[in-house]
Amino acid sequence: MSAERERLVEITRRHFFRRSGLGIGSVALASLLDERLFAQAAGGEVLARAPHHPPRARNVIYLFMAGAPSQIDLFDPKPRLAARNGEPCPEEFLKGERFAFIKGVPRLLGSPYAFERRGASGAEISELLPRLAAVADDLAFVRSVRTDEFNHAPAQVFMNTGHGRAGRPSMGAWLTYGLGSEGRDLPGFVVLISGDARPDGGNSCWGCGFLPSVYQGVEFRSAGDPVLFLSDPEGIDRPSRRRALDAIAALNRLRRAETGDPEIDTRIASYEMAYRMQTSVPELMDLSKEPPEVHALYGTSPGKASFANNCLLARRLVERGVRFVQLFHRGWDHHGESKASSITDGLPRLCKETDQGAAALVEDLKRRGLLESTLVVWGGEFGRTPMNEARGGSKFLGRDHHPRAFTVWLAGGGVKPGITIGATDEIGYNAVQDPVHVNDLHATILHLLGLDHARLTFRSQGRDFRLTDVAGEVVGKLLA
């Protein structure tokens, strides 16, 4: 496999140095690099990895609702379920089923929330998401998504990597591996986190698995350094850092001449890129220069850690060419074992935390003409049961984990707007029309980005792995 090392070196460069010769530090860089590398780094198109087919989307913003929102209370109205509220769940659904917490025969639980048809498309959206309702015509709802896992960490890892055990590359890693980054001074895969904790699946949700670590998601943090170790240590100012880097590069070039090792060129370029990131990332993260109407649209306030702020940051990242932006907002796990975790108290709160930001993002992207090339995906790791969980006799209403059918919405990036595909049975238990497995969703996302999920492979442990394992069909009905 003589290609492997070459590929590692090349992808390292492609990932971080695409078009870097044209960037802020280009003059300095040009003087530092030997001609061969410079030629490679400057000739961005040479380094770009072509997609398999013409892409519909260039970037992805994935709004990951960790904890799993209730589709029945948000997107999949079930009048028959409401009518049968309180009845024991029919035996046919329970036979052979494994639940995380439900014991015995649970009772059906209709949604306490009103649904209305919204926009010209008539999409049915719950009263809990009024802002989203306003952009309904831009969204495509899939009501029939299903997964294989029914506990949070494995299901989040599954939704992100196509495998229920931690250790495989995540979707963002696959995409940056497949397409490289358009970003000049930023990594290709950025993660932003809000909510009550980090996601249950931990860093595995944006890990690179067996892919080189350049492809793992880089977390941009809302407190402290936005990227770890971005600030110069105390007592070092910019000119001083510049001089130190020049000295390092000068010494490295001497070593390059002595040993002939081209890896040293890459190291010099890495340090230059780091230097540029020290400027570009704080500039990116600074929301204070956004005009008041943008803040009004998103409900953002600069410097605050919030989902809305992260939505606005996502737009800014996409504007700067970052391939895959993934937001995690945890807190949707509404089992009803307490008031705070009930669908009557906790669910409205989470909707309030996220509704405006998500809707604003779609609207803002559209206004700026970015929605066409940006795929927005919203969804959790599984759905919630149509039955009340009533754990330990709890009097609060809540729903258990439900892998068989849940709703994900997509927007932009070549997705047909204003449609709803897939359907569940009358109580919302099983997907009965156009079921879309997680593998299918992955195949579709890759397809929209110009990649054939069956051809995007990486050899590890003696086999060619892919995001979709051995399955996956592109969901044709979703394509515009």
């Binding site: 290609a3 090392r5 070459e6 590692l8 990932h15 971080f16 494994r98 995380a100 917490f101 014991k103 029914f150 506990n151 949070h152 960490a153 494995p154 599954f158 495998h163 229920g164 055990r165 250790g167 990594p187 980090r198 249950d200 931990g202 860093n203 595995s204 890990g207 080189p212 670590s213 350049v214 990227v227 770890l228 170790f229 971005l230 240590p233 007592g235 000119p239 001083s240 001089r243 130190a244 000295a247 390092i248 010494l251 490295n252 001497l254 070593r255 040993t259 002939g260 081209p262 190291r267 890495s270 890129m273 780091a274 492979t457 442990q461 003696g462 060619d464 892919r466 394992d469 051995v470």
Partner: protein
Amino acid sequence: MKGDGPGAHGRSERPPLGSFPVHRRPRKPISNRRIGAASVAALCGLSLLGAGQGGSTPVDRWREIAPILRTGCLECHSGNDPKAGLRLDRRDAAFAGSGNGKFKVIRPGSASTSPLYLRLLSEDPEVRMPKRSAALPAEAIEKVRAWIDEGAKWPAGLVLERERASRDHWAYRKPERPALPQVREESRARNPIDRFVLARLEKEGLEPSPEANRATLLRRVSLDLVGLPPSPEEVAAFEADGSPDAYEKQVDRLLGSPHFGERWARPWLDLARYADTDGYEKDLRRTAWKWRDWVIRALNEDMPFDRFTVEQVAGDMLPDATLDQRIASGFHRNTLHNREGGVDQDEARYLVLVDRVATTGTVWLGTTLACAQCHDHKYDPFTQKEFHQLLAFFETTEYEAIGDASVGEAKYTEPSLEAPTMEEEARRAALRLEIEEARRMLGPGSPPLEAEQAAWEKEPPVDWTVLVPEPVRSEGGATLSVLDDGSVLASGANPDSDAHCVTVRTRLQGITSFRLEMLPDPSLPSKGPGRAYNGNLVLTGFGVRAGEEPLPLSAARADHEQDRFPVAGAIDSDPATGWALLEETGKPHVAVFELASPLEREEGTLVFTLEYRSRYAEHAAGRFRLSATRAKNLRARALVPEGIEAILRIPRGERTLDQAVSIAAFHRSNAPCLDPVRERLRRARKDLEALEASIPRALVMSERPSHERPATLLRVRGSFVNPGERVYAGTPSILHAFPRTEMPNRLGLARWLASAENPLVARVTVNRLWQEIFGRGIVETSEDFGTRGSPPTHPELLDWLAVEFVERGWSVKAILREVVTSATYRQSSAASRERRERDPENRLLARGPRFRLEAEAVRDVALEASGLLDRRIGGPSVFPYQPPGIWRLPYNDDRWVESEGGDRHRRGLYTFWRRSAPYPSMAAYDAGSREACLSRRPRTNTPLQALAVLNDPAFFEAARALAGRMIAEGGEGPEGRATRGFRLCTGRSPEPEEVRILLDLLGDERARAGGKDGADRAAWTIVANALLNLDETLTKE
């Protein structure tokens, strides 16, 4: 549930073969695909054989067809998970067709409508079969046509065995010692390794490189053997050593270093997926480091690799297994575990076992066994059944899976073991002895204290006046009733926390002390005196008021106090402390509270408050009585409970034996002359408790006793919810036989793995050693020696090393010594562009290795160069500086609390490893997450790495310390200081140009700072920071 295990091979399986033509989209052929040479040869041979033969009978025809199907089709179209749902190994399935019988591919009598034939003819590479290898020879295709046209006769019941080229694969044949190749320039070979390498170079027409200079060489070999750079003094000594074996002496010094085990543990920890937490959601901590320290020790001792293997796979099953051997069995306890509430614990167990099999396959067989979890291995000769047979070996370990998550009971546990060091064990034995002795002295068996007892008995009894309550009230709502003897009995409600308020009227004047008797009662749990289930109580407060005026108490004593619950705690102001009675419940006890001054007043009301507000629920008194006395100077006699007092009143000679024993025991337990012994006992017990709490536990394997052959259920498509046939423990048939002398259990498996008959284990192991040294294994895919792995660059060298390894008693150090003393290793890594272009990846080894250090070493080098490194070996994992906010886990409020002192500067391998949130600077340097077995790390070069070493406060602290060292050790002049720093980081002396660059930087920084205090130091810190970031510092050259 879909089969979610491995199995993808870059192709979709959806298009059924029968819906011809089938492909909706062009596909890229997978590169590097090698259809086994054997099958190509077979096809060629076949075509020759078949040429010119006509008029075959059906039986003859079948004889011709069978090998075509076998070699051309069955690689994909056989077994229980065939491509396109088409099996061509069984008659029924073949005629049923693809899509599991949906589309006919053979229409007997009509080849021209049979896809099986048509697809052999197609010119479209996406349609033509066999898919990704050369088209069948025309003669073979013609035979297929004839066979189908003649009715496609397939003898009943005849099943075709998939012919696996893989059965003859080199890696499954036991290595034999190859002859040493002839080389033209013998003098260039220092040892046999060089002959293999030189022979290849000579064949390729490449010259080897000259030997590296001594500074570079010593730094290289130090990093390779102990993972730390040499000190400038070590380099100087080596440079000055004119003896012919100067280098070998350095090698032996390093092999004997206690840091050898630390450096070589690192790749083993990657393989073992070692970490300090469970992984997944809660990602709780576990105590795994005892096993890690075992690995370091075993490597330092150069434990033979076969023993190293057996102890880790089945150390617990060895006869009379030692503590160390049982700790070693923790290798497979490093599996992940999801502790989320809703987990199916039995499935969790299955996943743990799957990981154990897959890891065992990678580590000891260099085989991707994981591919056979869901279906037969697609490329290598391992079946799904064999996967589960291996799994059965692990099925019989002890575990507990309780599965009702909804009530908080769900758990999956495997055994752990208290693992004291020898020092801890000795200390514990000493404490136990001390306790034993003290107890004997205090216990009934010790000689009676005749004289003291007699004197004590002569003391006048204290005259107590019982204070009869009127009224008594429970704050928490218990029912308190006053009995005839003046005692109070509690019943009814049993509040978690309570206070008893007792009002008494007394005419007694000059009261000096109060007595509180805690009395047993048959109505109480465990007979009392307390109301806790075990008869215990905790009196957290005792106070008395005369009217509104609190009476100060000066002392409290009791006849018995539970350890850490002294009665003094009842009269301090701390509500958390109090008096309790274990282990002596069920008996009467007495406490005496002395007033600070006698109560001089006439008749009046006293109000007592007895508080029971400890964190232990329901620990109030069940029956108690209050008394008062005017006696002064109370001695031991004051603490005599009523029952004992009654016996005392009986003349000595008239007491029964029981009574005599009771009196003696009571006296002994209170005799002032034994106070020092009691104090010693108390302290020893306390120390023992603290010691035992501090002794870490090791996660170990342990076997359930059973007389049955280990078995398990095969899982259909690898899915836990689809149990299939029962399979028994066994090893794959392609490999060496399971020894007849071994039991078919985990210990037998361990010995089978570590057997000299195993064709893989020695090769796989020496290859990993090679990979660590040269950056790439002789087999590059060190995790996969199967047919899809990369072929060895130097097959004979690999075999030679493997045979040597076994013959030298599986000594890792012997092989490493052989490698690092070879001329091949000692070559300079510099090379001209032309030479690099000949062999960019240095497969042929015409130069020495040069590549970036692994994550741990990046840290270790900075710490060592700066002088901060704390070289202590082993112990619990440590918490060096980490930016805030890295840990913020769901359902787990665990916090990263930075270690103090030297633990902030320990080697990278001791850094606490949380799987869901790895240590950032190590993650940036490709350290991985330790979620799965890892045989080789990728090696990237990124801006995040640059940011870490430039700015991570942990690295900047090293820069400051290095600056201090340069100033302190580099003499007065800046040249000397710069040189010192350069040598500390790179091992070599800088060239003048290099010094000039550093001094220019220094000058600029000094100028920037002007004459400010500390400006010089700050400028040197920036120089040091630059030195730590040099490519050469971060690289093994």
